[in-house]
C-alpha cells in the first residue's frame, strides 16, 4: 500500500498535476481533459488527468531488473524445495526394494544390492572413491520395514541391521535432557532480564548470550569431550565417560541462547498495562513477573521450547563428540547413545554411494528434516498468531 503511494512522485504526470492545480486553468489540464471529455468541468478534468497520466510508464530496463531480482529471490524457495526432492530421492530405493525384494539385475546405477559384480554396478563402484573401503557386506542388506523398525543398528556387519529405533530413542533422550536442563535456566534468565535486572547486569548478560550463541557447536562438543565429561563423571561416578547425560548438558548450552532470545521477546511483548495493573493492585514485582507476565507470554515461551527442541534434535557435532555413539536402547541416562544426526555424520563418509546403508542414512536425514520442519512451522504459528491475537484481542 505504502509503496504505491510512494511511487506517485516518480511519474511525470505528477508535475503536470501540480502545475494544473496551481494555475487553475493551465493548458495541461485542458489538453489532457480534452482527450476524453472536452466539455467536463475543471475539477472533473483534473481527476481524470491524474488517473490517466499517473499510470505507470513501461520501462523495459526496470522491468527486466525487477524480474531478475524476483528470480534470484526465489533461490531460498528453490533450495527448500530441492532439499525436499534430493534428500527424499535418495531414500526412495528403500521403499521400492520392499515391493520387489528379489530384484534380478536392477538397471538403475544407484542400486547395488548384491549385484556389485555386474558390469554396470562395478562401474558405479569405480565412480565412487569411497567404495574402496570395501564394505561389500554393507551392500547386501535389504531394508524392509521390519528391518527398519528393528531394535538393532549394525549396518556394517555381515548381516546388516538397519533398525532406526535405537537412534530415534537416542536423539529423543539427548534432546529431552537438553531441554530439561536448558529451558528452566533460559526462561528464568529471560524473566530476569525482562523484569528484575538492573541495567548493568543486562549489559553483561546479553553479550554473554550472544557469545554463547556464537560458539561453534564443535567448540561446545570439544569442551564436553575433554572437560565436561571427566568433571561430570567424577561428580556423579557413573560408568561410561561419554553418555547421554554429558551430551544433554553440552547440548543445553546450544539451546539456551535460542530459548532465551525467543522467550525474552515474548516477555517483553507483554503489554505494559497488564504489568502496571498488576503492580497497581499491590502485587509485588516477582508476583507480577511469575503470575502475570509469564502466563501472558506462554505461547511465545512454548514456541521458544519448540525451537530449542528442533535445534537440539538436529544438532550433530555436539552429540557426535560427547555421547559415546553406541546404538543402545535403554532408559538409563548415563549410558552411551547414538543419535540420528550423529549416525549420519559418522557413517556417511564411509558408506558406498547408492547402497542400502547410504539410503537408510538419507532416510534418517529426511526424518530429521521433516521433524524440524514441522516443529518450526508450529512454533511460527504460535509466535505470530497466538501471541498477536492474545495481545490484541484481550
Amino acid at each position: 500500500m505504502q509503496e504505491r503511494e510512494q511511487n506517485v512522485p516518480t511519474q511525470p504526470g505528477y508535475h503536470t498535476g501540480v502545475g494544473g492545480a496551481r494555475d487553475g486553468s493551465g493548458e495541461n489540464v485542458s489538453r489532457i481533459g480534452a482527450v476524453d471529455h472536452p466539455v467536463r468541468s475543471h475539477a472533473d478534468g483534473r481527476r481524470r488527468m491524474n488517473r490517466q497520466d499517473l499510470r505507470k510508464r513501461f520501462r523495459p530496463g526496470e522491468f527486466l531488473i525487477e524480474k531478475a531480482i524476483a528470480i534470484i529471490a526465489f533461490v531460498s524457495l528453490a533450495t527448500i524445495v530441492s532439499i525436499f526432492i534430493f534428500v527424499f530421492r535418495e531414500t526412495l530405493p528403500i521403499f521400492s526394494s520392499e515391493e520387489k525384494p528379489a530384484a534380478v539385475v536392477v538397471p538403475q546405477e544407484e542400486e547395488t544390492y548384491g549385484d556389485e559384480f555386474v558390469g554396470e554396478a562395478a562401474k558405479n563402484i569405480a565412480r565412487s572413491d569411497r567404495s574402496r573401503s570395501s564394505e561389500t557386506a554393507g551392500g547386501e542388506g535389504v531394508a524392509t520395514l521390519e528391518n527398519l523398525l528393528g531394535l538393532v543398528w549394525s549396518p556394517v556387519s555381515a548381516d546388516p541391521r538397519y533398525g532406526i529405533l535405537p537412534l530415534v530413542v537416542g536423539s529423543l533422550k539427548v534432546t529431552l535432557l537438553a531441554i530439561l536442563i536448558g529451558a528452566p535456566i533460559a526462561i528464568l534468565a529471560a524473566l530476569f532480564t525482562s523484569s528484575f535486572a538492573p541495567r548493568w547486569s543486562k549489559e553483561v548478560l546479553k553479550p554473554a548470550i550472544e557469545v554463547l550463541a556464537g560458539f561453534p557447536s564443535v567448540v561446545i562438543g570439544f569442551f564436553a569431550l575433554v572437560v565436561l565429561a571427566s568433571v561430570l563423571q567424577k561428580l556423579f561416578g557413573y560408568q561410561y565417560r561419554l553418555n547421554a547425560f554429558v551430551g544433554g548438558v553440552a547440548m543445553s548450552l546450544a539451546v539456551i541462547p535460542i530459548i532465551y532470545t525467543v522467550a525474552e521477546d515474548a516477555l517483553n511483548a507483554v503489554p505494559r498495562f497488564m504489568t502496571e495493573a498488576s503492580l497497581a493492585l499491590g502485587a509485588t514485582k516477582w508476583q507480577t513477573a511469575l503470575l502475570v507476565k509469564l502466563p501472558a507470554a506462554t505461547p511465545g515461551v512454548f514456541a521458544a521450547l519448540l525451537l530449542g527442541f528442533g535445534r537440539a534434535f538436529g544438532e550433530t557435532m555436539i552429540v557426535l563428540m560427547a555421547t559415546g555413539n553406541a546404538a543402545l536402547i535403554s532408559l538409563s541416562m548415563v549410558e552411551p547413545v547414538r543419535t540420528m544426526s550423529a549416525t549420519i555424520g559418522a557413517e556417511m563418509a564411509e558408506v558406498v554411494f547408492g547402497d542400502t546403508h547410504y539410503n537408510v542414512l538419507f532416510l534418517l536425514g529426511s526424518i530429521l528434516f521433516l521433524f524440524t520442519f514441522s516443529l518450526n512451522a508450529v512454533a511460527e504459528i504460535f509466535i505470530r498468531q497466538r501471541l498477536l491475537k492474545r495481545f490484541r484481542g484481550i
Binding site: 565412480r127 550472544e210 555424520g345 554411494f353
Partner: protein, 291 residues
C-alpha cells in the same frame, strides 16, 4: 525467591560462558605460537601447525560469501522493496527463509552430497570431463562452499533486510521525486545506506560458516592434505573439522591435546572477533533506527 532464582540462572549462563572460554584459552595458549599458525602438520599430525586448515577455512568462507552474500542481499531487496507484504510469492519466500534457518546443518550436508556432488557434479563430469572421469562428482571445496552459502543465506537476508528497513522513507521519496526510477533509487540511495547491514550480514554468515562442521563432513573436508587446495575441485582442511578429527579420530588423541586446544582457541577467537564486529556494526544500524 523468584528474583534470586532468575538472577542465579542469569549468572549461571555468564559463568558457563566464561568457564568454557577460560578453559580453552588456558589449554591452548601455550601451543598457540606464530609457528603453529604458519606451519603444516607434521609427524602424522602430532606436531606442527594448522596453516592448511586456516587457509582452507578462509577459502571456504570466501567462496561462500561470493556466492551467498549477493543472493542474500538481492533477496532482501526483493522482500523489502519490490514485493508487497501480502503477495503470495513474498510470503512463500519469507516462509522458505524461516524454514531454511531451522533446517539442521547435517541435512544441508546430505543435500550438498545428494545435489551438488551427486547430481550437479555428475552432470558436469559427463558434460566436460569426459566419460568415466571423476573430477566434479566427488566432494570438493566448491560444493562445500556452496552448501555453506545456502546454510548461511537466511543470516544474510535477515540482517540486510533489517538494514534496508532503517533507510528513511524520505530519502526514497526524495530520490523518486527527482525523477529517479525505482532501480536507480535502490542502487544509489537504498543500497549505499544499507552497506553496514550488508557487511553485518556477511560477517555473521562468515562466522557461522567458519564454525559449522556438519555440512562439510562429506561435501569436501579432508583429514589431511599434503598441499593446499589449488583448484575448486580440490578437497580442503578446515579448522572445525580439524578439531573434530584431532579429538575423536586421530590415533593418539592424548599426544595432541595441546594442538586440539590451540585449534579450538583459534576457531573461537575467529568467530568471537567476527561476531563482535557484527554486533558493533549492528548497534550502529540500530542507533540510526532510533534517531
Amino acid at each position: 525467591m523468584v528474583v534470586g532464582l532468575s538472577a542465579l540462572a542469569a549468572f549461571l549462563i555468564i559463568g558457563v560462558v566464561a568457564l568454557v572460554m577460560g578453559t580453552i584459552v588456558v589449554g591452548g595458549k601455550d601451543t598457540l605460537t606464530w609457528e603453529f599458525l604458519t606451519m603444516a602438520p607434521r609427524e602424522g599430525m602430532t606436531e606442527g601447525g594448522i596453516f592448511p586448515a586456516i587457509v582452507g577455512t578462509a577459502l571456504l568462507v570466501i567462496i561462500m560469501s561470493i556466492a551467498g552474500v549477493p543472493v542474500g542481499t538481492v533477496t532482501a531487496i526483493y522482500l523489502s522493496e519490490y514485493a508487497s507484504s501480502r503477495s503470495v510469492l513474498a510470503r512463500a519466500i519469507r516462509f522458505a527463509v524461516n524454514t531454511l534457518a531451522g533446517v539442521p546443518a547435517i541435512v544441508f550436508g546430505l543435500f550438498g552430497l545428494g545435489f551438488f556432488v551427486q547430481f550437479v557434479g555428475s552432470g558436469l563430469d559427463s558434460l566436460i570431463s569426459g566419460e568415466g572421469q571423476l573430477r566434479w562428482a566427488q566432494p570438493n571445496i566448491l560444493w562445500a562452499s556452496l552448501t555453506m552459502a545456502l546454510l548461511t543465506l537466511p543470516v544474510v537476508i535477515v540482517s540486510v533486510e533489517e538494514a534496508i528497513k532503517t533507510v528513511p522513507q524520505d530519502l526514497r521519496a526524495a530520490s523518486l521525486a527527482l525523477g529517479a526510477t525505482k532501480w536507480q533509487t535502490i542502487r544509489k540511495v537504498v543500497l549505499p545506506n544499507s552497506l553496514t547491514g550488508i557487511l553485518t550480514g556477511g560477517i555473521l554468515a562468515v562466522s557461522r560458516g567458519a564454525g559449522e562442521v556438519a555440512p562439510i563432513l562429506f561435501t569436501g573436508a579432508a583429514y589431511f592434505l599434503p598441499h593446499l587446495p589449488t583448484s575448486l575441485s580440490d578437497q580442503f582442511m578446515e579448522l572445525g573439522y580439524h578439531v573434530y578429527i584431532m579429538s575423536t579420530q586421530s590415533t593418539n588423541v592424548d599426544a595432541t591435546t595441546g594442538i586440539q586446544y590451540a585449534t579450538t582457541l583459534v576457531l573461537l577467537l575467529l568467530t568471537f572477533l567476527l561476531n563482535f564486529s557484527a554486533i558493533f556494526l549492528r548497534s550502529r544500524v540500530r542507533a540510526r533506527q532510533v534517531q
